[in-house]
């Protein structure tokens, strides 16, 4: 058994920032299924919100206004004190990153540059060209290297060991060998990112299976607000690679097949910079009503920005459009369509990252604080990861110093045995009729077509029935290549698939129960927000027959819910 005081699962921005915070005083290790710089944080483009008031036009910006914009953007489902904490921390994190070497884009006066972003009253989004995630992740990784933090690379956490209301560690598989190992820890931080790949159309990295949320769920930890799934309005038609909101922040237009800037019909004053849920629904409506191109996409037109501005502010977007779309946005509009992008829901945590289980913490996209409520604003996710990565690292010492005992090695050994049996079962079924290939594509297609931008009872019920059938079939899956466990992708996928089905079921079942439209969750059969019945968080708990739901109050301390127009 390997033991550490603090074990962080996931090496994206949240996980690395947490590790930086605890490594100086406590034996800290990070465990990740990929090398840290391969984490999905790298793909964030547009920027990180902080009310620095650096630019002309943001002189009156304040932390208070950032707080309000975030709450309104969340369709009033965010917990308001948590939002305030995040927005207050925002400038500190931007400056911290600057001090650690992040190459922020600058204004002529040398201050950090800011650009307009969706749902924000001021240009508030600090950026490093359109590669902000890359620069932030690398900066934190450089700090990890400086501090010499131990990273277990290419290890997959298979199960979280919880007993008697406290965490004892995880059982993980070394991908290079297929060997299982017990990782005992006094405190475990889950920072494993989102679950985008349960959808057939997603902007997410291919590694985003939501496995951290799944192992917490299976260990009995409450999972919050999973029906709130962000669909990004502008992903590249064909591959669904993200085309940053920054492209609209810099002035890009959305145009339908009649050449109209159609956002005028849906958000007269904010236009293209309305929040993502609204823009996604608008684009999907245009396509559904025959005003898209090939009934699949609309155009994101950047041509009027001019060559120089595109090269300076959006070089990554141009590269993506050329490499993956075969078009140069300097000369041609980019074909874009909505696709799954972000998980507002996740492991339920308090504002310092604590979960319902002692010693278990969460941060970043896999956690739900909740600061994003029913819809996250662009530029708030890099912020969330960095802020709550830092705050969780400040909370963990309190737990460690309060007499947290050593992890229970027997419980860990028992769990390892269980996981070994599970692996042996998959390997033994080498001629099984069911495989990842017979189940995963069906699940993804079900999720996108029946639980997408627009939802309704009938489709959700069909989706739920389909998922339950797939879950049943998934019990019998096997792999054809069990002879060698060295980097065995078939085994990896077979191990992650059941968790992906659990996550899908939580999303769909939660969406079916919530009979209202709020933020990203839009029910065509219940097209209004219903604060009387539904101004509350969904909590899902694991049960073999499907998720058990309960509901908790939203913390409304400063801003009473109002109609949400832009």
């Amino acid at each position: 058994m390997i033991t550490h005081d603090v074990l962080i699962i996931g090496a994206g921005i949240a996980g690395l920032r947490a590790a930086i915070g605890t490594a100086a005083r406590y034996d800290t290790a990070v465990l990740s299924k990929v090398h840290p710089v391969r984490s999905h944080s790298i793909a964030a483009q547009g920027g990180m919100n902080a009310a620095l008031a650096n630019v002309e036009g943001s002189k009156d910006d304040t932390i208070e206004k950032h707080t309000f914009d975030t709450i309104k953007g969340s369709d009033y489902l965010a917990d308001q004190p948590a939002v305030r904490v995040m927005c207050t921390q925002a400038p500190l994190l931007v400056y911290e990153l600057e001090h650690w070497g992040c190459p922020w884009s600058r204004l002529a006066n040398g201050k950090i540059a800011q650009r307009p972003f969706g749902g924000a009253g001021y240009p508030r989004c600090c950026y490093a060209a359109d590669r902000t995630g890359h620069m932030v992740l690398h900066t934190f990784y450089e700090k990890i290297v400086e501090l010499g933090v131990r990273v277990y690379e290419e290890w997959l956490a298979l199960s979280l060991v919880v007993d008697n209301g406290r965490v004892h560690g995880v059982v993980a598989m070394e991908m290079a060998t297929g060997r299982l190992e017990c990782f005992g820890a006094k405190a475990v931080v889950l920072a494993t990112g989102g679950y985008g790949r349960v959808f057939s159309r997603s902007s997410n990295a291919l590694i985003n299976t939501g496995s951290g949320i799944a192992i917490a769920y299976e260990a009995g930890v409450p999972i919050e607000d999973m029906e709130f799934v962000q669909y990004h309005p502008t992903t590249l038609y064909g591959t669904n690679i993200l085309i940053s909101e920054g492209a609209r922040g810099e002035g890009g237009y959305l145009v339908n097949n009649r050449g109209e800037r159609f956002m005028e019909r849906y958000a007269k004053s904010a236009m293209e910079l309305a929040p993502r849920d609204i823009v996604s629904r608008s684009i999907q409506t245009e396509i559904n009503q025959g005003r898209g191109f090939n009934d699949e996409y609309v155009h994101l037109d950047l041509r009027h920005l001019g060559r120089e501005k595109i090269l300076e502010r959006l070089p990554g977007i141009r590269e993506i459009a050329i490499d993956f779309g075969g078009i140069d946005p300097i000369d041609t509009p980019i074909p874009v369509q909505p696709a799954q992008h972000y998980s507002m829901g996740g492991v339920a945590t308090g504002v310092r990252g604590a979960t319902a289980v002692k010693g278990l913490y969460g941060a970043g996209e896999s956690a739900c604080v909740s600061v994003h409520g029913a819809n996250r604003l662009g530029g708030n996710s890099l912020l969330d990861t960095a802020v709550f990565g830092k705050l969780v690292a400040e909370a963990v010492p309190g737990y460690l110093e309060s007499g947290a005992g050593p992890p229970d090695s027997r419980r860990l050994m028992d769990e390892r045995k269980k996981q070994q049996e599970r692996i042996n079962g998959i390997i033994s079924r080498s001629n099984a009729a069911e495989s990842v290939g017979t189940i995963l594509p069906a699940m993804r297609e079900t999720m996108f077509t029946k639980c997408g931008v627009f939802r309704e009872k009938k489709l959700l019920e069909e989706a739920l029935a389909a998922l339950r059938e797939l879950k049943e079939r998934c019990r019998k899956i096997g792999i054809s290549s069990g002879a060698s466990l060295r980097y065995n992708p078939g085994l990896m996928n077979a191990l992650e698939l059941p968790g992906m089905l659990e996550i899908s079921e939580m999303i769909v079942a939660g969406a079916l129960v919530r009979e209202e439209s709020r933020g990203s969750h839009w029910r065509t059969d219940f097209p209004a927000r219903d604060d009387q019945r539904w101004l509350k968080h969904t909590m899902a708990r694991y049960a073999p027959e499907g998720p058990q739901f309960s509901y908790t109050d939203v913390e409304i301390t400063d801003y009473e819910p109002k109609a949400r127009t832009y």
């Binding site: 291919l206 993506i320 290549s481």
Partner: protein, 251 residues
Amino acid sequence: MSRKPGHTDSEYTFKLFRFDPDQDREPRYDTYRRGFPPGATVLEALLHFQETEDDSIAFRFSCRSAVCGSCGMLVNGAPVLACRTQLSALIGDQVLVEPLPNMEVIKDFIVDATPFWKSYRMVEPWLHTDGEAAPEKERLQSPRAVHKLEPYINCVLCACCYGACPVIGFDEEYIGPAAIAKLFRFMRDSRDRRGAAFLERVNRRAGVWNCRTIFRCIDACPKDIRPTDTIEALRREMVLYRFKKFFRLVR
């Protein structure tokens, strides 16, 4: 991968390098003939074969959009990111896929990048500052100063240059292009305080001096970084530093 309306597939013959040291005495090549739509990438083809033919084919991947640096490999002999390499852009219909050279093969296209990361750590790839000032405000930096860091900050650490470098092939101690370009990125940063004396760390054969300016790293870089230029620049700075030191112009 998406099949857009109105396009037809093109046929390709794939030869995939296969080697699992636990099972195989020596590498072999598996051959597949298959049609793919325009725009399909080498990574998509590998995922397709993994899903439909053989779920043991091993390769690293993550972002599929050329930002994470996972999927460096040789395609028809050239070090590339598989996710960024379109089949239709290759010459002919033959697609030979092999692991990056200069590193030990762990399985199929997965190589042991330990020496690459060791070189990376050697240049202390973090901003050196004069102690930890509390971050009350940002340090000012001109847009020009940030511009000087381009394109070096765009490195995705994919090791394509490391695999392409002929020098590493015969001197595995050689630090390689990416690490030097990373050092250059920090030494060019107006906020970094390490100073020219730091160059002594790479003032040796296996540091900046072993480069034979064959420029393979420049061809290999998917982010249009020119590591050779940074090696030459640091060599010049080294000579200048030594000269100044000799005449006691610097400490």
